[in-house]
């Protein structure tokens, strides 16, 4: 007979207010195998843990059941506690009487009854637990960073500075991302390019960073410490070794298309670098718009290239590489405005998005930094800024707040007052949200010193009147109807997850929220980790974020990567599947359901009398197995067991509830 100790946690009033601890203890004392029962106000505290260690010694306990919060919260804490007392850490069983009981019930009677039932279940399981042991695995001490915006750049630099090799994969021809498109940055108004470009150059020159542009992640296999990633190097049509970046090719290219970098406000050529400070400063051919690739004639770039670097025959290359850790830093898209016909975007050239406005203000932008109306090239006198376009709108857009728009709109109002003296900024808002160091002061400056007029009201309609635009709203504070005649309307468009975020999430076995932002492992305590060990998040791919937060998160992700890569080896998770080959029928149902490719077929030789026969059985690759248990359910003869969750244990749990 096992000697089981049961410890009930009050969790302050979290559990004790809803579950009758005394009654639960009394019930636990009568459960088979239970020789000791105790309780504590905070079991996770040092005092609480000491109590468990002492009881194990004093009462010769060989199995421990703790009734407390979810194992997600403190399983590791308590495993260490029982291990310190000399028991195998897997002799611990947790009954979740908080999240699955006290937090979801109001009635003390039923909550207590359920808590008793959960304890009984855990006791039944603990009585059948076996010792489990981890094995050591090697680590590939290199990191992959996906996305070359400021998040990816910062993470790559920090990991590389710590002495580890980093591959930085970027899908565009240059790194830089959204930050490269911005003019000034809040709340200091320093020039975005001036602070970003040096970091881009650092990336290019860093001995530990391998820059892989115009490329995308195709496939991810393996697990923490040992990922195998297939990267598609898209055919650039330019030999990176030969190209000197002289720019003769794009000066002569006859094919012009809208520049993505300039948000369609200027043209680029079919062979192009996205912007002058591009890193690497070597062009790529956009084959969909190249005359040679679409019609078979042209080849002007090849003729003018002094280095002979143009290569129309290049093919996409698939490269397989190994990494110990991955940082995802794929950034964001701006919200599409198809649902906002009331703002006349796309119907009138003087209605623009905030990112387009950034390009207009930018010295390297299409107007050389002059704010001019796209319709007639004249400076605007009156400009309306509409906030929350596509944000906080559960009917037509994103229900969430995009977080950055209040601040960048204040910035735009300030820049307008600086660049166009005498111009008036009208900012339409629902609420102004400026939590952040020096943020409120920055907003104050917009209306106090720079003359912006803030109007509390969502704009309902924008329509052209002659060469002007009429903006209709109400000032909800005064109750005055508002009808402004302006020269330009700037829409503070919301922040969306990347269109392909879900696809990437699937490749990485990480999850997304309802709006396709990648999920962190814990919203407060594990903000840069994901539920998949070894995969970390940085920047707006995890949720809308400004530059300071993005950089902080990128550095945090880098620290997590570095502390992982610094280890000599990793301990494997011992709760993996195990095949009893005596029972295995070899029908391989398990292989079909395994999501991790951890099951393979194997042939064993068996002696039947004098004859030796070969028989097919399943085999688990314990390095790949994540312990999900799908195989154990699919196995008809019951030959597969998940260690720590054996069929026998689970049936005992069911019996404990039902019998």
């Amino acid at each position: 007979m096992k000697r089981i100790g049961v410890f009930l946690c009050w969790c302050g009033s979290n559990i004790a207010a809803t579950v009758d601890i005394e009654e639960t203890m009394a019930a636990a004392r009568k459960m088979p195998g239970v020789v000791y029962v105790d309780h504590n106000k905070y079991t996770c505290s040092e005092i609480g843990q000491a109590m468990i260690r002492e009881a194990i010694a004093a009462h010769r306990l060989d199995r421990v059941v703790i009734g407390s919060c979810s194992p997600r919260m403190h399983e590791n804490t308590f495993r260490k506690t029982v291990e310190a007392a000399g028991l195998n850490p897997f002799y611990l069983e947790i009954a979740n009487i908080r999240e699955q009981c006290s937090w979801v019930h109001k009635d003390k009677l039923t909550a207590t009854e359920k808590a008793i039932s959960l304890i009984r279940t855990a006791v039944a399981k603990a009585a059948r637990s076996e010792p489990l042991f981890s094995t050591e695995m090697s680590i590939e001490r290199r990191a992959l960073v996906i996305g070359g915006g400021i998040a990816g750049i910062q993470a790559a630099l920090d990991i590389a500075d710590a002495g580890f090799e980093v591959d930085l994969v970027e899908k565009e021809p240059s790194i830089g991302g959204r930050m490269a498109q911005l003019d000034k940055t809040f709340p200091t108004l320093d020039c975005s390019a001036c602070i970003l470009t040096p970091k881009m150059v650092d990336v290019a020159q860093h001995g530990n960073i391998n820059l892989i542009t115009y490329s995308e992640v195709e496939k991810v296999e393996g697990f923490v410490g040992n990922f195998t990633v297939t990267i598609r190097n898209r055919a650039r049509s330019v030999d990176m070794e030969k190209c000197t970046g002289c720019g003769d090719c794009y000066a002569k290219c006859p094919s012009k298309v809208d520049s993505e970098f300039e948000m369609g406000l200027a043209k680029r050529r079919a062979i192009y670098t996205p912007f002058p400070q591009a890193v690497p400063n070597k062009p790529a051919i956009d084959r969909a718009n190249c005359r040679y690739f679409t019609s078979g004639k042209c080849k002007v770039c090849q003729k003018v290239c002094p280095a002979g670097a143009i290569d129309y025959e290049q093919q996409d290359q698939l490269v397989e590489k190994k990494y110990g850790a991955i940082v995802v830093a794929t950034g964001f898209d701006t919200h599409k405005l198809d649902n906002y016909g009331e703002y006349a975007y796309g119907k009138h050239p003087d209605v623009i998005t905030s990112l387009e406005f950034e390009r207009l203000v930018n010295a390297s932008g299409p107007t050389g930094g002059k704010i001019l109306r796209p319709s007639n090239g004249q400076p605007p006198k009156n400009v309306a800024f509409i906030q929350c376009v596509g944000s906080r709108d559960k009917a037509k857009g994103n229900p969430y707040c995009a977080k950055i728009c209040c601040m960048y709109t204040a910035k735009h109002a300030i820049l307008l007052s600086e660049k166009v003296p005498g111009a008036n900024a009208f900012v339409f808002y629902i609420d102004v949200r400026t939590p952040g160091k020096d943020y409120e002061e920055f907003y104050n400056r917009a209306y106090e010193e720079c003359g912006a007029t803030y109007i509390r009201g969502n704009v309902s309609k924008v329509f052209p009147d002659g060469d002007k635009l009429v903006v209709r709203s109400v000032d909800a504070l005064s109750g005055a109807l508002v009808e402004l005649v302006v020269d330009m309307v700037v829409l503070a468009t919301s922040v969306d997850a990347r269109a392909d975020a879900r696809e990437l999430a699937q490749k990485l076995s990480i999850t997304t929220n309802a709006y396709n932002f990648f999920n962190e492992a814990h919203p407060k305590l594990r903000p840069v980790e994901t539920q998949t060990a070894g995969v970390f998040l940085a920047g707006a791919c995890q949720g809308p974020k400004d530059i300071p937060d993005t950089v902080a998160q990128a550095s945090a992700a880098a620290v997590k990567v570095v502390s992982l890569l610094n280890k000599e080896s990793l301990l494997s998770n011992p709760t993996v599947a195990e095949v009893d080959i005596k029972l295995c029928s070899g029908d391989m149902s398990c292989l079909a359901v395994c999501p991790y490719g951890a099951i393979a077929e194997k042939f064993i030789e068996e002696r039947h009398g004098r004859e030796i026969r070969k028989r097919r059985v399943a085999e688990v690759n314990t390095a790949l197995c994540q312990g999900c248990g799908a195989c154990t359910v699919a196995c008809r003869p019951g030959a597969i067991n998940l260690k720590g969750f054996t069929n026998e244990q689970i049936l005992a749990e069911v019996d404990a509830i039902c019998l």
């Binding site: 906002y340 016909g341 009331e342 119907k347 009917a395 329509f463 052209p464 009147d465 009429v470």
Partner: protein, 273 residues
């Protein structure tokens, strides 16, 4: 193709020309419109509260009849009827409680099997505007016409699903198929005041004045509508508006879209048959 046809009260009385031109043009286009037998008034307004269910009896009765007659589509002309029928049908498809009450009362088993369509939708989807353009014998070349959508065809946004609420194009595409010059103006979806013209005439008059001014400023020579109440308001207050504002906008003819269609297809001689 055979359609169940629901004319509604106004098309049989004040808007006779709407019905005449509809039937003439449908015939010319080879569309068979079979009038629902013993139809009743649709109620003119879809009930905007959770308590009134029985106003839906009348439209459901017509829809059930259309289904019994083997039609998959019921066509309406008046924007008011269209709004009521479309929303009623949607309710019958999605709200089991209301469906149960109505069917219990009518001793029917109607579940929204019939599609409610507007004649404009038939022209767009079943005839096709490109094909329609080919059938036009008297193109409305040089005619500057401003489409006026009003509200009932388009809104509520998530219930009508007729066209983009803010930037609809069906009227414009229709007019282009007839060869007319389409006048773009921002007030084409602004409310004309609707039934306020019965009890708050000055409000309706002002709303109408804005629409007309906007259309005129953008060069309209005529307005085209699909709603008898819009037409009434837009015509009724032109005069008062002209007197009050001295605006040259007064005197713009307001036509049903079927009148223009009949003209373009050259079938109007049959008027008064």
């Amino acid at each position: 193709m055979r359609y169940s046809y629901y004319p509604g009260c106004t098309l049989k009385t004040k808007a006779k020309v709407f019905e005449d031109t509809t039937l003439q043009t449908a015939r010319a286009l080879g569309l068979e419109f079979a009038e629902v037998e013993e139809w009743q008034c649709c109620g003119a307004l879809y009930p905007l509260n959770t308590e009134e269910v029985f106003p839906l009896l009348s439209p459901v009765r017509s829809l059930a009849q259309a289904r019994a007659a083997g039609c998959t589509k019921l066509v309406t002309l008046c924007a008011g009827c269209y709004n009521v029928f479309r929303r009623t049908n949607r309710t019958m498809r999605s709200d089991a409680e209301v469906r149960g009450k109505i069917n219990g009362y009518l001793e029917e088993d109607y579940r929204g099997q019939v599609d409610v369509v507007h004649y404009l939708e038939i022209l767009k989807n079943d005839v096709g505007f490109a094909e329609l353009a080919e059938k036009v014998s008297r193109r409305l070349e040089g005619r500057k016409i401003a489409p006026y959508y009003g509200c009932l065809l388009l809104k509520p946004r998530n219930e009508m699903d007729f066209d983009d609420v803010e930037n609809p194009t069906i009227f414009e595409d229709f007019l282009r198929a007839l060869g007319a010059n389409v006048v773009e103006y921002p007030y084409r979806t602004e409310c004309c005041g609707s039934y306020l013209s019965m009890a708050n005439e000055e409000v309706a008059a002002t709303a109408v004045g804005r629409i007309l001014t906007s259309a005129f400023k953008n060069g309209a020579e005529a307005l085209v509508v699909a709603c008898p109440l819009c037409k009434y308001n837009l015509e009724e207050y032109q005069k008062g508006f002209r007197e009050a504002a001295g605006s040259p906008a007064a005197g713009i003819p307001v036509l049903y879209f079927t009148e223009l269609l009949a003209e373009a297809l050259d079938v109007r001689e049959q008027d008064g048959q």
